[in-house]
């Protein structure tokens, strides 16, 4: 369901049913988790939780991180990691706000520029990883720092607002249009909250890319076994550079959404978003060893995190306990991915 199995697990004849059950649970864990969160939400807060405004608000607040999670999933599938996406979102949101404030560009011009900026840094991540053979953890950790520094430098450490008023005291047409990208209360066709739509569309597109294209198969192949992939003619270098570039591009796309959401680009925007993005991917069943995971899983993982945040918030659970609960859920998600753990407890060896 949420996982792509390279080979069916070999089951010993007398193996306990519990282990098989756990294995099935691991495959469906994201969906079970989502159902559990929804159940707790409905049980404790009922209509307040389930109404459209609340759900839209909750998902909208997480949408930019969800889009980052899609990019991070691509990288994780190849066996890498991208820690720089939070910083990339930050510089893209700053780029968006500055393009709007200084040059009065239209939103349709701003978004591609931000995507190019993100893709450029993403390409550097990929080049460093594939050509210079720097571990992706180190490469993107360095990029996290470099890009955050650049972000702070170009902005002079001061936030840039996107609600730009003209001489008549009203918002300029460009600023007015930019708000559509995510300022709460501004909806496409008076109905659809843009960040939610953007997140879903990104998920669908990348789900199709991964499942229906040759590139998608190559991504899984590289993560599953790079040597085998190379021997069977997959251009591992190109695939690696491509996933980092796409991840950067998606962070660039999330930038304007984040800037519109808070009606300003903060020099600290996006800090620690990479952790939420990775958590969403992992809860959704992506394996940091590579080769295992789906966009559908990441989407559900993001939903779990955002709805959990909402449910805990509505129940007035303190921030400290929220951190504890979210951390525990990540651990549970990873443990459920590893049915072999059960064997270890029974005294068996982990092969």
């Amino acid at each position: 369901m949420t996982t792509v199995k390279t080979a069916p697990p070999v089951q010993a004849p007398g193996e306990s049913r519990v282990r098989r059950a756990l294995s099935a649970l691991g495959a469906a864990q994201a969906y079970i988790g989502l159902v559990l969160v929804l159940a707790v939400g409905i049980a404790t807060k009922g209509e307040m939780f389930l109404n459209e405004t609340n759900l839209t608000n909750a998902i909208g607040a997480f949408a930019s991180r969800g889009i980052l999670a899609v990019g991070v999933t691509l990288v994780i599938l190849t066996g890498g990691i991208d820690l720089s996406v939070g910083s990339l979102l930050g510089i893209a949101s700053m780029t968006a706000a500055m393009m709007l404030a200084k040059f009065s560009l239209e939103p349709w011009q701003i978004v591609p520029i931000c995507m190019v900026v993100g893709a450029l840094f993403g390409f550097l991540n990929g080049a460093g990883t594939a050509w210079l053979r720097i571990q992706s953890f180190v490469m993107t950790l360095a990029m996290l720092s470099v890009v955050r520094g650049l972000d702070r430098q170009v902005s002079d450490n001061v936030s840039v607002g996107t609600q730009i008023a003209g001489p008549d005291g009203k918002l300029t047409p460009q600023a007015e249009a930019f708000q559509l990208f995510g300022t709460p209360g501004h909806n496409l066709f008076d109905r659809i909250y843009y960040p939610v739509l953007a997140f879903i569309v990104v998920c669908v597109i990348f789900h199709l890319i991964l499942t229906k294209t040759r590139f998608g198969r190559h991504v899984y192949a590289v993560g599953g076994n790079p040597t085998a992939a190379r021997l069977s003619g997959v251009n591992v270098t190109a695939v690696t550079i491509a996933v980092f570039t796409l991840s950067g591009m998606l962070a660039g796309f999330a930038g304007p959404i984040d800037a519109a959401y808070s009606a300003s680009a903060d020099p600290q925007a996006g800090q620690s978003f990479e952790l939420d993005a990775i958590a969403a991917a992992v809860i959704g069943g992506a394996s940091l060893a590579g080769g295992k995971g789906t966009i559908a899983g990441t989407f559900v993982g993001a939903l779990i995190l955002t709805l959990l945040d909402n449910v805990l918030g509505l129940n007035a659970v303190s921030d400290n306990w929220q951190l504890v609960i979210k951390g525990l859920i990540v651990v549970v998600a990873v443990v459920l991915q590893r049915p072999d753990l059960f064997k270890i407890f029974r005294g068996g060896s982990r092969s």
């Binding site: 702070r152 001061v158 808070s262 009606a263």
Partner: protein
Amino acid sequence: MKKTITIALCALLAAACASKAPAPSASSGEKKKFVVGYSQSNNAEPYRAQLNLQLQHFLKKYPDIELLPIADAKQSSATQVSQVQNFITQKVDALIVSPTEPAPLTAAVQQACDAKIPVIVLDRTVNTDCYTAFIGGDNVLIGRKAGEEAVRLLPDGGNIVELRGIMSNQPQIDRDKGFREAVAANPKIRIIADREGKWLKEQATPIMQQWLAQHQQIDLVYGHNDPMALGAYLAAQAAGKADKIKFIGIDGLAIPDGGIRAVQLGQLSATFIYPTGAQEAADTVNKILHGQPVEKKQVLGTTQVTKDNAAELYKQFDLSGQN
């Protein structure tokens, strides 16, 4: 190849050393030039960026004082300690420190003091008396003023929600304490919810959305800084409730999307200027270096920003284009 790299590295190192070493003071004999080092706890907060800008601006008024490039401790006490020690090694004529945290910086400030370097502690305290001057705002006072304004805005009582900064930060603790003391004046005022907004606008919006879903009536939002108050405003505006709720912030920065402008636009009912102390620090440094007496503890007041004085205050504190 290896040789080239080595040479390049040596050159780089030499350049780095050269740029760090202050002009040998008083060696030329005629006119003494004073060198001042400043270690800032974190350049990334808009408030501190503004402080840096102002300090550079006000120190320019004294041509015999040279401010070294401001050292950014990036919220790390360890980094800051080594920065202070660097300045001591460089034998600066005076040192300004905005400590990230009091305890870890105490020893470093003590070292500077032992090295006979005058130290000005700006904004946050250290646990020693061995410094020349302390200049800082009073967050309890500002919190109390905000509370008094809340009492004034809600004469018949009402429900308040509070967006707090990072829970472990002293300003957060003080801004909360003062506020609660003041609103206790009216028993019909209740603080019905409070949460950590981490000083960030984008954190505040979803919290406010949840509160709006949860509570029948919210009459006033108290944000520990302006961005959080404005993040809550965005949520309320989207829900069509912004004009029924009052918003109070703190900081009052004179930047285009800061608190003073927000008061002018009617988004915030009030904000309170948390003074940077930059001007006082510049004046104090000058006095110390010229052997004049200075007050050891200078606690700065606050100014309430209202619709009436906002335009004037913005002009007073706006330094863009002046440096």
